[in-house]
């Protein structure tokens, strides 16, 4: 969905209406209900086992998983091998000839206008991207699950209020909303993931709410209630295990979305600030040198593409493996 697809995870629709033109209810986002009611622990163990096996059979999803694992491993170990071999991502070297070097053995991705090694910056950029992605989605999850739970479980006026608030969030042009929020909070590393996190909750809340609605209809929830289980207990013992699969799928895809949004915001100067190596920021610097030093454009973008793609493929694979139906 256009530029601001950044944050709309590839399978969500971020408008007030769904692809079918109906109000979004995501009625499909439920797992097949567990037979036999109250024995969900044993059933879910095989469910997850089956899902894992199906996921591994999916070549594209496996490739995505491997790529993510590789990127994570690279960023964790980066301090050990990147600076000694390729140079510090922050060390400036403006002596003529040292900057804007095209890719070479010494600098596989070349150097930027301040003479910094681009490969080193791309590797460290992954840290920023993954951190922002994970933290932003965590924030969205916390807010979204809370709102979705309130809305789905208690219904009524509270539900109406939460859902109308979500409508307002959906009505806002996404990237403009993010930019306005950042303008207020001030552009910084921390504020980027906070802003993306805040903006991500309505989709999660909707997915969770509809899961709750469909689980609530089931007899075993009535049975549990009849046996005097508390709201909290019903929520965690009976509703969460059933609602968790769509949330996981949605969350995985959202990480990819958050990474693109961070890059977009940093590209616009409303995100991570220099000299922190962020892929979006590197592309922003590359813009004026697009034609003189195309390698500055190519590699950070390629890094975004592959990492986001990995999350998309994994999300797709998990959706199929967990048999979560989302509107494609």
């Amino acid at each position: 969905m256009t530029d601001r697809h950044g944050a709309s995870p590839p399978h969500g629709t971020n408008g007030p209406t769904d692809v079918d033109g109906h109000e979004v209810r995501h009625e499909g986002t439920t797992l097949p209900t567990l037979p036999g009611g109250l024995h969900e622990t044993t059933t879910s163990r095989t469910l997850w086992g089956d899902a894992w096996r199906r996921l591994r059979r999916n070549k594209l999803a496996t490739a995505g998983l491997i790529w993510i694992a590789l990127v994570v491993a690279m960023t964790i170990t980066a301090d050990l091998w990147v600076p000694p071999t390729f140079g510090d991502p922050l060390s400036v070297n403006t002596t003529p000839g040292a900057n804007l070097q095209p890719p070479s053995l010494e600098h596989p991705f070349g150097t930027d206008k301040l003479g910094r090694d681009v490969f080193s910056r791309v590797v460290y950029g992954a840290r920023v991207s993954l951190t922002v992605g994970l933290l932003a989605v965590s924030i969205s999850l916390v807010i979204g699950l809370l709102m979705g739970a309130l809305s789905g479980y208690y219904s009524g006026l509270l539900d109406a209020f939460v859902m109308r608030t979500a409508d307002v969030f959906f009505a806002f042009p996404y990237i403009l909303f993010a930019i306005s929020l950042i303008a207020v909070l001030g552009p910084s590393y921390r504020n980027v993931f906070i802003a993306i996190g805040i903006l991500g909750w309505p989709s999660i809340a909707r997915v969770f709410r509809s899961s709750i609605f469909s689980v609530k209809e089931n007899e075993y929830v009535d049975a549990a209630r009849a046996m005097g289980a508390s709201d909290m207990r019903i929520m965690f013992r009976h509703i969460m295990p059933n609602a968790i699969a769509p949330i996981i799928v949605y969350g995985t895809m959202s990480i990819g979305g958050a990474i693109i949004t961070e890059a977009a915001l940093s590209f616009l100067g409303m995100g991570v600030q220099p000299p922190t190596p962020s892929w979006g920021l590197m592309l922003s610097d590359a813009k004026s040198l697009m034609f003189a030093a195309p390698w500055l454009t190519i590699w950070p973008g390629f890094a975004i593409l592959t990492t986001v793609l990995a999350f998309v493929l994994m999300g797709d694979g998990m959706r199929d493996a967990l048999d979560v139906k989302m509107k494609d």
């Binding site: 530029d3 209406t17 692809v19 930019i179």
Partner: protein, 325 residues
Amino acid sequence: MFKYVVRRVFQMIPVFIGVTLILFILRAPGVLPGDPVRMITGERGMTDALRQQIIEKHGLDQPLHRQYVIYLGNLLQGDLGESYQRGRAVTEIFADKLPNTLRLALAAIVIEGIVGVTAGIISAVRQYSFLDVLVTLSTSILVSVPVFWLGMLFQIFFGIKLKEWTGGAFYLPISQMSSAQFPDWAHMILPAITLASVSTAYVARIMRSQMLEAMGQDYIRTAEAKGLTRRAVTFRHALKNALIPVVTFVGIDFGVMMGGAILTETVFSWPGVGREIFLAVGQRDWPIVMGGVVIIVFLVMIINLLVDLSYALLDPRIRYGGGPE
């Protein structure tokens, strides 16, 4: 039908209030760093008299809730206020920018419609073929591409490299400046493709899955049992059903493009609505930000309403009565 439209229009009101309220809270003093009056004059020294004049002109001396009510009142009369810095009415500024955004969005919609639908149909009709795998894989890649990067790559490749390789014989203009040897619309090609890229992938995906779903329906077997050709069954019976959600998506996407094209507009220096608002955020020119968002939200809601109404035309099962949904 009429009742439905009225009801939908009334449903817009709370959303409007919510959106403007959020913006008002965001620009409230104490929330936003910096003195708005300073922003207006551009930080230079000013006399108290001038300062007072500006404050009064923009109603900044009023308490915030009062300002909000005044704003809503003006809004009802179609007055979105005046820019702090440009000395022009907000409506006037956007009257200039909106046609640019509309042109670009229309071009992008045409591209995503044609390319996305075609790719989706091919993919579905030849399920599991090489072409299907190609389409499926490229849609996954396309939804993962940062559009601004794609725009930059297009400029490097089509604008510069292609020109170098073909000795200037063939390339695409990357801005309106180079329009001497090109027709007027040529500079729109790259930004339009860039803007359309992600949506094209979505359209192809939706088209594929809808087409596959339609082709598995019982009425397809009925049509085949009548002796219709495979082609007639696919393109008459399945396509008409499968297109309904696609048309809806494209319609909604058109609305999204009204304000969501900031990145494409930035990369191609396209003077559109989104970019105007983005620049205004940087300058703390809140009347432009507020006005721009209000205009976009209004357009999006109108477009969504039209999409929903057209849905009733496409799908005979949908009838918008006045009753409950």
